[in-house]
C-alpha cells in the first residue's frame, strides 16, 4: 500500500486495516524473533542447568538400571528444552523501532505527501546517476564543476524531450515555441493497444508455423476453423475451407507488445512484452512462452477474475485473406487456457487464487490478439497447479480482489 503514487483516505484506511491484521497475526513468528542477547542468555541458562543436573546425578548413588538412567536423561533433556523455550518466549518481543515507524506512515502521508516521494532509494540512485556518472565523464581534474554542468545538461535535454513528447500528444496541433501560432498537422493514427513484434524466420505457411511451435497441423487447422466459425460472416472473414486456408500467407511472431494503462494514471502506459518463442531458445536460454490474461467473458463471469482467464502463449501469427477483395489481416494467438479452481473465487484461508490444467474440453483455443489484456504471473504449486500472484503490481492488485 505504501507504493501508491497518490494516496487517498481510502488507501490510507486500507493500509491501517492491513497493519492491524499484521499486528493481530504476527504472534505466529514470535518464537523466531530472537535477539542475539536473548539467545546468549538462553544458552547460558541451558549450560548452567546442564551442569547442575550433572552435579546432582554425581551425588546420587548409582543403583538404577540402564533403562532407568536413559529415562532420567530423557527427562532432563525435555526439561532443559522446555526451560529454553520458556525463556525465548518470555524475552522475545516485537518492540523495535522499525515496527513502530509503520504507525507514523499515515500521518506522514497526510503531512508531506506520498511516501515514495521521499524514499532514500531516489537519493541513492541520484548519487550514481548525478555524481558517479558525472565524474566518470569528467576530465578527473577539478571535477566538481564538470559534474554539475553534466547533470544540468542531461536534465535540460530530458525536460526538452518530455516537452516535445507532450506537445506531440496534442493531436493535430503543435504549438510553436517562439510564437503564438498554432500549426495544424496531419491527424496521427491512434497507437494500437496490442502489437505483434519479432518476426520469426521460416514461418510463411501454416505447416511451417506448426513445425516452429511443435503442434500437429490438423490440431491447429481445427482450432483456426473453430475460430472462423465464431467470427462474423463478412468479407473480412477467413475461408472455412481447409485447402484454401492452407494456401494463405502467414507470418509467425515471437513477441506480443501490450500497452497496459498504469495505475492512477490516464495517459501513461506500461509496456508488457509477452514472449512466445515456441520450441526455439530465447537469448541462449530455454524457450519462453509467457503467461497472459485473456479476456473471454463479461465482468460477471469467472468470479473474482471478472471475465478473464490465465493462459500460456503458445503461438503468435498473422494470416492474410488474399482470396477476398478486402484482403483482411487477422492477428491471432494460440493459447493454452487454465481452469479456475473454486470458480475463480479466492480461497479464503490462504487468500489466494488457484488455477490448474484443463482436464475436460478444449484447452488450446485461438483468440484474436486483442483479447490478450496483459501479462500474468503464476507460481507453480504442485502437480499441474498454479497460484495467481495478484500482488505482483498495483494494477493487478486493484483489478483482482
Amino acid at each position: 500500500m505504501a507504493q501508491y503514487g497518490g494516496q487517498t483516505a481510502g488507501t490510507l484506511s486500507y493500509r491501517e486495516s492491513y497493519l492491524q491484521t499484521f499486528h493481530g497475526t504476527k504472534v505466529i513468528f514470535l518464537e523466531f524473533r530472537t535477539m542475539k542477547a536473548t539467545r546468549a542468555q538462553a544458552n547460558r541458562q541451558d549450560r548452567e542447568l546442564r551442569e547442575l543436573m550433572v552435579d546432582q546425578r554425581a551425588k546420587e548413588v548409582r543403583h538404577g538400571t540402564v533403562a532407568n538412567r536413559r529415562r532420567l536423561a530423557d527427562q532432563e533433556r525435555v526439561e532443559r528444552s522446555d526451560r529454553w523455550a520458556d525463556l525465548i518466549r518470555r524475552e522475545n518481543h516485537f518492540n523495535f523501532i522499525k515496527m513502530h515507524c509503520l504507525t507514523h506512515f499515515a500521518s506522514h502521508v497526510r503531512r508531506f505527501g506520498s511516501i515514495s516521494m521521499y524514499s532514500a532509494e531516489i537519493g541513492e540512485l541520484a548519487h550514481k546517476d548525478q555524481i558517479k556518472e558525472g565524474y566518470r565523464r569528467s576530465k578527473k581534474n577539478e571535477a566538481a564543476r564538470q559534474i554539475l554542468s553534466h547533470y544540468g545538461r542531461q536534465h535540460a535535454l530530458g525536460i526538452r524531450l518530455q516537452t516535445i513528447e507532450a506537445l506531440s500528444k496534442v493531436e493535430g496541433v503543435i504549438v510553436g515555441e517562439d510564437s503564438d501560432m498554432e500549426m495544424p498537422t496531419v491527424p496521427s493514427r491512434s497507437t494500437p493497444r496490442v502489437v505483434l513484434k519479432g518476426r520469426m524466420k521460416n514461418t510463411r505457411t501454416l505447416t511451417e508455423i506448426c513445425t516452429a511451435l511443435d503442434i500437429h497441423y490438423s490440431n491447429l487447422m481445427e482450432e483456426i476453423l473453430r475460430f472462423i466459425r465464431q467470427t462474423a460472416a463478412d468479407e473480412r472473414r477467413l475461408p472455412a475451407d481447409r485447402a484454401e486456408l492452407g494456401l494463405l500467407p502467414v507470418e509467425g511472431f515471437a513477441q506480443l507488445e501490450i500497452r497496459v494503462p498504469e495505475v492512477q494514471e490516464t495517459d501513461r502506459f506500461q509496456i508488457h512484452r509477452a514472449r512466445c518463442t515456441g520450441t526455439r531458445a530465447f537469448r541462449n536460454g530455454g524457450s519462453r512462452n509467457d503467461w497472459v490474461w485473456v479476456q473471454t467473458g463479461g465482468e460477471a463471469n469467472y468470479g473474482d477474475l471478472r471475465g478473464r482467464v490465465v493462459a500460456r502463449l503458445l503461438g503468435l501469427f498473422k494470416i492474410r485473406n488474399i482470396l477476398s477483395e478486402a484482403a483482411a489481416v487477422h492477428r491471432l494467438a494460440l493459447v493454452r487456457i487454465l481452469d479456475l479452481i473454486n470458480g475463480g473465487r479466492f480461497h479464503i484461508p490462504s487468500g489466494q487464487l488457484r488455477v490448474s490444467n484443463r482436464i475436460n474440453g478444449r484447452d488450446m483455443p485461438i483468440v484474436s490478439i486483442g483479447a490478450v489484456i496483459g501479462q500474468a504471473q503464476v507460481i507453480p504449486s504442485g502437480e499441474k497447479q498454479w497460484i495467481v500472484n495478484h500482488r505482483i503490481d498495483l494494477r493487478t492488485f486493484n483489478e483482482i480482489y
Binding site: F32, I115, Q352, Q377, I392
Partner: protein, 133 residues
C-alpha cells in the same frame, strides 16, 4: 509550526510529565544537531523511508522469521524452489541464483521478492500434513 515554538507551548508541569513518561519507557531526551536552529524543526526531519524501513528493514526481518518458521516445519526447500520458478513479469527480474546463493540482498532484490513472497509462501505451505495444522 516549528519544533521549538511547539515545545515552548507546553507548561513546565506538562513538560515534566512528558520527560517522566519517556524516562519510564527508557528513552533518553536530548538535543540533537538541529536543535535550536532558526527555521529548522527537528521533529519534522524524520520521514518514512521505503528503502531502509520497509525493503531493507522490516521486510528483511520478516524473511528471517518466515525462514525460521519454514525450517521448523521442514518447508524451506519448497520456498526456494517456488521462488526460483517465478516466471518473468514487467518490473520483476527472474531470479538467476537460488535463494541461498544470494548473500547480499539489495533494495531492488528485496522489492522483487516482496512482489511474489505471498504467492511463493502459499505455494511452499501447500498440502500441510496432520502435524502442521
Amino acid at each position: 509550526m516549528l519544533y521549538r515554538e511547539n515545545a515552548l507551548r507546553h507548561e513546565p508541569a506538562e513538560a515534566a510529565g512528558i520527560a517522566e513518561n519517556f524516562q519510564r519507557l527508557g528513552v533518553k531526551i536530548g538535543n540533537n544537531l538541529f536543535t535550536g536552529h532558526d527555521r529548522v524543526s527537528p521533529a519534522d526531519l524524520h520521514k518514512a523511508d521505503l528503502l531502509h524501513n520497509i525493503y531493507l528493514g522490516l521486510f528483511k526481518h520478516i524473511m528471517e522469521w518466515v525462514e525460521g518458521f519454514l525450517k521448523k516445519h521442514k518447508r524451506q526447500q519448497a520456498l526456494y524452489n517456488a521462488w526460483k520458478e517465478s516466471p518473468p513479469y514487467p518490473g520483476f527480474s527472474v531470479p538467476k541464483k537460488t535463494y541461498r546463493e544470494i548473500t547480499q540482498w539489495q533494495g531492488k532484490e528485496m522489492r522483487n521478492l516482496g512482489h511474489c513472497i505471498s504467492a511463493v509462501l502459499a505455494s511452499a505451505l501447500r498440502i500441510p500434513d496432520s502435524s502442521q495444522y
